[in-house]
Symmetry: C2
Amino acid sequence: MDAVKIIAEPRRREILRLCWHGERAAGDLADAFEITFGAVSQHLKVLRDAGLVTVRRDGTRRYYRANPTALGPLAAYLEAQWGRQLDRLTELAEAAESDSGGTRA
Amino acid sequence: MDAVKIIAEPRRREILRLCWHGERAAGDLADAFEITFGAVSQHLKVLRDAGLVTVRRDGTRRYYRANPTALGPLAAYLEAQWGRQLDRLTELAEAAESDSGGTRA
DNA sequence: AGCAAGTTTTAGTAGTCGCTAAAATAGTTG
DNA sequence: CAACTATTTTAGCGACTACTAAAACTTGCT
């Protein structure tokens, strides 16, 4: 699974967001969703395998944290695909906003 | 289908790339792939419905062109999700490059 | 009208994805 | 070792996705 597909899943983006600024126990992360602990653990495995999160073991707990540097290759990929347009994404956001009023992503 | 999932599909990203700097007939686009014309047309429909491409009819041909402004909402979404980290993506790319040498996305 | 070229749409299919429920694993404590 | 907590893994399922092949539609030409 390539990185783009991995972060295309809303639940995984939310997980990344939750452990972006500091580590979070797997159980804590799971509590943030209404799905099963098992399901969250599966998402964590995907993120782990892609190197998008790192794990620290402490007792029976696993503490997860987003790994920003792993997003580097993703950035390189986006750069290659979208070129300089990427730099202007925010501008484009505003333009589209005033054009259509739609904010759907 | 949200925009993030739409561009998660490699074939669709390639289509967008092909008609990014100028319009391309549907047939031309289809020729760039080894899949069926029909399959490409289906991708075009997805992109069309999301407003990510615009169409110009000329005779029996349909000329497609990527619509950068439609990526605005996507940008807004990414901004909201990733915040300022997005600005540093290129930096991160370089860091990851020298760390692991891997460029897989 | 008939025919051909370009494109879209439909029906059906194999593979993938995210989920649940339950079993298995790892670590801590008595 | 047994009991308990935290987490991972497995098996199975329904929904969805990208694809092929074929039919339908559109436009231009004669």
